[in-house]
């Protein structure tokens, strides 16, 4: 075909590649040769690149909507019978498209930087854009050379979108997650621009803080949605599996949280600048590392994506180049400057923030170690193995307790040397005692059992929730974020401690009890969907002989890929979920059925969204202060 989308798409991508090249080269040239015009060209280059990429992205969407199977990527991930809505999500359903999304979001962030940096120093602005151009150039090169989303194909048989991704959650989860990943590139670019200029100071922290906050908030939303997606799609009733792909998203989140805490101190006092700079570099590096882990398939994961070693090699090279040069530059700068020693109190707020960032960093390091450990053992020839979820739970448990302890302390702390007064100490002690008593009372009242780990965790969560009220008016967003975190942990603790599950063999008409609930298996009926066929079971749920709801879990076969999918049905509630999944058909009309009672599970995601919300609120305040 002459007017194939392939030509347009390729032209747009190569055009953007050219723009990115200029966006990177001109400002650097301008900076070193003191040429103001070259510096000023950074912005138009960036905006033009964004325009081209936006069009390329739009083009891919159009290709999916119009079922253009002359494009290999569309043919591989769509089908004429695929519902319209999922054709949109199919745009980022596989490697090529999700990389285009990655680059599209990078350009959105670049555009945002263009518009939010009006009052910056010209050098800084141009250099930041140049570094973003460099990142964009690398990734566009990667896209065009190894994974062209517009590659043409002749007479392809459409293969449909992976049924696991045919879910509304998948519509928002990847864009949000990527927005977070990519957002840290802005932080990285600004940081590096400062390092190039050799003028990193507390002003750096002031400039970079809203960007850290924005990227981190998006990442929080992305991870929360991802966890929710896993809960209702994978059919195992879990919300976090410590799978390498999940860990890959948690790593930059933890590093970003550590950075967020530290940046406050740097902005206020200029302390810990070096550590903060390293964290800023690290966070974006972990984002690339995450992309590498997910895309190269070096680690075994249940979410397996297309594995291609050549792609992996390119990404690894990119990681080495970007992070290596940034670290080298950092060392070069840090050897020259030497921070003046100043008085420091270990009970002050800055100490607390430092501790918190160290804890978060340690958590990141342990997760990283657990994720890469199989790789290390294999590379050193010590055997093939896997690290189980208990590792993560065990190692993170003490870190979490410490984090909660410090979090509860935060509202009582003060900046500077007068950090700790006797009055605040006494009131903190009272709160701590109160939360302990409350935790014991609540646990005994509701469960009639002495469960010391639950009591310990619960009392620390209550300590955070109770103590934060003193800071609510003065530091609203911090308080909100901490409440959100406490709620997440509360959800995790309660749902993992008090969940009930059963796997049973059921014939129509039979009932099974789960806690106070009785599930009655009515029947199984056939059903026909747009691109699948399947069966739908019907369960009546009773409590004290009163009908609560009817749940209809399904088992589907997606005809094009002939893939079997379990579609669970959930009765959601603020305090508990009831969750039914059909297993497999057994003899005599019987089915194996999996039933879950999940208390407080929604709190995990509500809390996560709360954290993100507090981040966005803080951003709003930043924006208002600017104008």
């Amino acid at each position: 075909m002459l007017f194939s989308l392939y030509y347009f798409g390729t032209a747009l991508i190569y055009g953007a590649l050219g723009c990115a090249f200029l966006q990177c080269l001109l400002p650097f040239y301008g900076y070193f040769s003191k040429n103001k015009y070259c510096l000023a060209l950074a912005r138009p280059c960036a905006l033009l690149q964004s325009l081209l990429i936006a069009n390329a992205f739009l083009l891919l969407i159009i290709a999916f909507i119009s079922n253009d199977f002359s494009i290999a990527y569309v043919a591989k991930n769509s089908h004429p019978s695929l519902p319209f809505f999922y054709r949109l999500t199919a745009v980022w359903g596989a490697h090529e498209g999700s990389f285009l999304l990655w680059i599209f979001l990078l350009n959105l962030w670049t555009t945002a930087l263009c518009f939010c940096s009006k009052d910056w120093d010209q050098d800084l602005r141009a250099l930041s854009l140049a570094l973003l151009g460099l990142i964009s150039f690398c990734f566009l090169l990667f896209l065009s050379q190894t994974s062209d989303p517009f590659a043409p194909i002749a007479n392809a048989i459409p293969q449909d979108l992976n049924p696991l991704l045919q879910d509304p959650g998948f519509f928002v989860h990847p864009p949000m997650l990527y927005a977070g990943y990519v957002g840290f590139s802005v932080v990285f670019a600004i940081t590096l621009a400062y390092l190039v200029k050799g003028a990193a100071s507390s002003h750096w922290a002031h400039i970079v803080r809203p960007w850290v906050l924005a990227a981190w908030s998006f990442l929080t939303v992305g991870i929360t949605l991802g966890s929710w997606w896993a809960y209702h799609v994978l059919g195992w009733g879990g919300f976090w599996f410590w799978d390498p792909v999940e860990n890959a998203s948690l790593l930059p989140w933890l590093a970003g949280a550590a950075l967020l805490h530290l940046v406050c101190v740097v902005e206020k006092q200029g302390r810990f600048l070096g550590w903060a700079l390293i964290l800023a570099i690290l966070t974006f590096s972990l984002s690339i590392l995450g992309t590498f882990l997910v895309r190269s398939g070096v680690l075994i994961s249940v979410h397996s994506f297309a594995n291609d070693p050549s792609r992996g090699a390119f990404l690894l090279l990119l990681l080495a180049f970007i992070t290596g040069s940034a670290l080298a530059l950092y060392i070069f700068r840090s050897l020259k400057t030497r921070a003046a020693p100043s008085l420091f109190s270990w009970t002050s707020r800055e100490a607390l923030l430092l501790m918190q960032s160290i804890l978060l960093f340690t958590a990141m390091a342990t997760v990283l170690l657990g994720t890469l450990y199989p790789l290390i053992m294999e590379a050193t020839g010590l055997g093939t193995l896997s690290v189980g979820p208990p590792y993560f739970n065990q190692v993170l448990f003490p870190l979490l307790l410490l984090t909660l302890l410090f979090m509860g302390w935060a509202p009582f702390s003060q900046w500077g040397l007068s950090g700790w007064t006797q009055a605040s100490g006494r009131s903190a002690g009272r709160q701590l005692l109160l939360s302990l008593v409350l935790a014991v009372a609540l646990t005994l009242f509701f469960t009639q059992q002495w469960n010391s780990t639950v009591i310990l965790k619960l009392s620390l969560i209550l300590w955070v929730l109770l103590s934060v009220k003193t800071a609510f008016l003065k530091q609203t967003t911090m308080a909100l974020a901490h409440i959100g975190f406490a709620v997440v942990i509360l959800g995790i603790v309660l749902s993992s401690a008090f969940s009930k599950e059963r796997e049973v063999r059921l014939q129509p008409g039979e009932t099974v009890a789960l806690g106070p609930y009785v599930f009655q298996f009515n029947d199984v009926q056939g059903e026909e969907g747009p691109n699948y066929r399947g069966v739908r079971g019907s369960f009546t749920v009773l409590r004290h002989h009163k009908k609560i709801t009817t749940l209809t879990p399904e088992k589907r076969i997606y005809s094009v890929r002939s893939m079997v999918m379990t579609k669970v049905d959930i009765y959601p509630g603020v305090f508990h979920d009831l969750y039914v999944a059909l297993g497999e058909p057994l003899s005599d009309n019987a089915w194996s059925v999996r039933l879950y009672y999940k208390p407080f599970i929604r709190w995990v995601w509500l809390g996560g969204l709360g954290i993100a919300l507090s981040g966005f609120l803080a951003l709003l305040r930043f924006a208002r202060r600017q104008t």
């Binding site: 075994i300 896997s386 063999r505």
Partner: protein, 147 residues
């Protein structure tokens, strides 16, 4: 001078505390790692390794076609995992993942049963199948590659 010395000794204490904390963390991490590592074997390797009953490991292989037997009235499933050299019977109680299929790759996590020494059975507590149409689990590729 005296003041500086005080500062220095204080720093030393902090440093010591920090190092102690680090050592503690490292010890804990290594301990947990050691506890929670699951070795991965193919059926031939598992038979050679001769691990005691109750020692958890992962067994990866292809589900032998025609070997899956479900017990009546219970959720017990029996099947055979093979690496095309040796075959091992596996027993699992529970619901199999969607992608568990005869001829497909699967990884079973569990340990040797205690029943009898002559005919070894692997008691699986968890069955993993990748969400992919790949014909063999990746870890198995690697094990096989080494030979």
């Amino acid at each position: 001078m005296l003041k500086l010395n005080k500062l220095q000794t204080r720093r030393l204490y902090y440093l010591l505390a920090l190092m102690l904390g680090l050592a503690l963390a490292a010890g804990l991490i290594l301990y947990s790692l050691k506890q929670n590592i699951n070795l991965f074997f193919t059926p031939s390797q598992a038979l050679q390794a001769n691990l005691p009953a109750g020692h958890r490991f992962r067994l990866g292989g292809q589900v032998k076609p025609g070997s899956v037997i479900r017990e009546k009235n219970r959720l017990q499933v029996h099947f055979i995992l093979t690496d095309l050299k040796r075959e091992l019977p596996v027993t699992y109680s529970g619901i199999l993942p969607d992608l568990f299929r005869e001829g497909n790759g699967a990884i079973a996590e569990g340990s040797w049963g205690t029943a009898s020494q002559s005919k070894k059975t692997f008691i699986a507590t968890e069955i993993l199948a990748k969400h992919d149409e790949n014909y063999m689990p990746r870890a198995m590729y690697e094990e096989l590659r080494k030979k």
